[in-house]
Symmetry: D2
Subunit: 240 residues, 4 copies
Amino acid sequence: MKVFIDKDYHALSERAAGIMLSEMTRDRRVNVSITAGASPVGVYERVIKALGGANEGAKATAFDNVHYYNFDEIDIPGEERGVTRKALDEGFFDKARIPEERIHTLTCKNWQSHQAAVEAAGGLDFMLLGMGGDGHFCGNMPGETRFAEHIYKIQVKPEYPWYEAFLQMKITPTPTFFVTMGAAAIMKVRRLVMIVNGEGKAAVVKRFFESRVTEEFPSSVLKLHPNFTLILDRDAARLL
Amino acid sequence: MKVFIDKDYHALSERAAGIMLSEMTRDRRVNVSITAGASPVGVYERVIKALGGANEGAKATAFDNVHYYNFDEIDIPGEERGVTRKALDEGFFDKARIPEERIHTLTCKNWQSHQAAVEAAGGLDFMLLGMGGDGHFCGNMPGETRFAEHIYKIQVKPEYPWYEAFLQMKITPTPTFFVTMGAAAIMKVRRLVMIVNGEGKAAVVKRFFESRVTEEFPSSVLKLHPNFTLILDRDAARLL
Amino acid sequence: MKVFIDKDYHALSERAAGIMLSEMTRDRRVNVSITAGASPVGVYERVIKALGGANEGAKATAFDNVHYYNFDEIDIPGEERGVTRKALDEGFFDKARIPEERIHTLTCKNWQSHQAAVEAAGGLDFMLLGMGGDGHFCGNMPGETRFAEHIYKIQVKPEYPWYEAFLQMKITPTPTFFVTMGAAAIMKVRRLVMIVNGEGKAAVVKRFFESRVTEEFPSSVLKLHPNFTLILDRDAARLL
Amino acid sequence: MKVFIDKDYHALSERAAGIMLSEMTRDRRVNVSITAGASPVGVYERVIKALGGANEGAKATAFDNVHYYNFDEIDIPGEERGVTRKALDEGFFDKARIPEERIHTLTCKNWQSHQAAVEAAGGLDFMLLGMGGDGHFCGNMPGETRFAEHIYKIQVKPEYPWYEAFLQMKITPTPTFFVTMGAAAIMKVRRLVMIVNGEGKAAVVKRFFESRVTEEFPSSVLKLHPNFTLILDRDAARLL
């Protein structure tokens, strides 16, 4: 684990975007898995700009080797795209004009075959992820997660920190389960970058450093990944 | 995790030796970490033969690129070499005539700097390991291990399955602690092969497949390694 | 470059098969590219046996993660399968009962899109190849090859050492060109093993060691590959 | 080969520095090899700033895992440091306050053992290099280079483009040879980034794209590297 404490959100975003772009710069297919949510907005802003600006006169092709994956999903009944995919569309794919054939969406329908599809494409090269206030990462919830799983179903429970936000989406009927990549799948990703910012995360960051590796505190397993970079801003690192 | 069930100890040894030799065949330094004990005798027999027989007329140099590491150690008071190193000398190093400059011994004296030394040499490429009847691997004991550790000290306790054998060595004064590579260090090894043979291991093998990833059953963490091969003989696989 | 001189064809085949099987033993898709011809017969014998014998009671699935690729092809007018594919069917695929969905055939029809297909599947992990008496490898012919090419078309010429054998196949009309992976594509393969056996190859082996890296002697470029193992028998190494 | 054409030197430097910093961000030893000269000034400016600014309160340690290597050298009689090392001191090491124990200098004295030292440290992870107006890279001169060499001696000749600049250094007695990493060693570096800027390089860049892979035009061999990024500014790309 490599840890950086950057002075603010701007610096954190700069650092994470630099690594993401570097990993995308290869003369072969690159598979990246990215997170939705508020934390990566600054990263995506920079990456979207770089995607548009690369190779003057060849804008559309410079990063055409990059394929994109989500790592968890809640399906919306009657709609083709779920909660995560929609958030990624809005936050990244639409702005970066990523064509559909380079987006490989994990859903509550394809979850049993998705890991095989990822591996048939050479595996994931890079993942950008965040940490929940309860220590969850991807959809791996405290106590519910099974580290040995690759991709699995998990029940929606009222005790999850995102449950309120989830209810406010007014999805009908309310989904009862979602899908996520588990720790076994994440350990196969060649490079992980986790960004955590803001005072609201200071307590969970402290807990992360102190916690034993246990399914009760899912993010703890990331300490075992051989190529994991944790980027904090000063606010998130306040209790260290 | 890739699992093989071979028909007997001979076939298991053949398979593991083939992988070990393949990993040693590179045009660069290769760092391998190997286990003492009874299980690998058949593997070492084959590897020792290959080391002696490679390149007729150039026997001494064909695998000179390979460096060796142990992964745990109990020091013997007043002696330079500990329990593990002596067992490896007898089981492998002496027979294969590995010169001292290519053996990098972890001891109860150098354990705090050893991980840095491993990494300064490019990290471990390959590790051959076994599983204890209680689910321990290397010196990572149930309940005592901390997965997040790289190399750490652990107390000798009477409840360990090897305690009787340990007392019979009549080391005076009786060592109170030993050192081992922990899960965080093992997750950085590029390729792991674990061999488990014999009916006596059937119960722990069954437990391995059923267990959640937990420090109470240390080997469970190996399910998270991205390049892990488990080779069983039929006896060890009897309860699957 | 790592060089082994084995005492005979049996030992050479044993060593190459050991490496090939080791590379195939992974918990993920593995892409291997293999050569037709007489030299690998001994290797395939061993690999075919291992494919059949792995996991008693699970014979069909132990190496289901392995996908196969040819690296050159001469199409046969009016037939679906070309010269190389037919030879591989006979020498390996049929005997090992590899299902069609795990064989990815390069042909004179798909050569322009094949490299992209290889890369979309994560690239080649392993290639087993031989060396021609004129220093060619794959279909890279002396003076005709362009090292910078990935996959390209090359004209059939009477001066090629295999031209007589080619005419005796009595393909009508006689093909005027064939396709091959070039050096740029071969340099991307993660591990290369070349086997060369028999007195008839002694002169070209000597030339290989003495040659500068030049398109006039195609195999010379393999000296630049970072993970290349050359396995000779004593006869082939006679002039070294 | 991945090619970028950036709009100016600023953008080119930004892109190359981003990749270099990303490669340096690992939880293990990282070995980087860097070039002297005018082209990388903008890259080093950014990297030096990042080295100073990482981890507020922990400035000295954030990139302590990074070790540095030069790839060619002309010794200066009577002095410990040669031409390249002095230029790197001035351009990078002094400003970034890299301690001597993390600088591993290739010299005309240690060149025969240096490759082994590089490999004993795990090999080079990253190299930043430039291209000469005559197509040379590192000290690999047209017609004089031998691609199959790892590190070798090469004679100083009046026809080299840098000969005038070299004479003006007034080294006495004038060195008659220098040392450089050759293509075989460069092919083992895990990631290569070459930066080429300015109108003066437009002709050689055009030649690079058109040239066959040949020792007469040394940079041509880089087209064979599996992880090579070429970053040009618009001026250098003017003739493409």
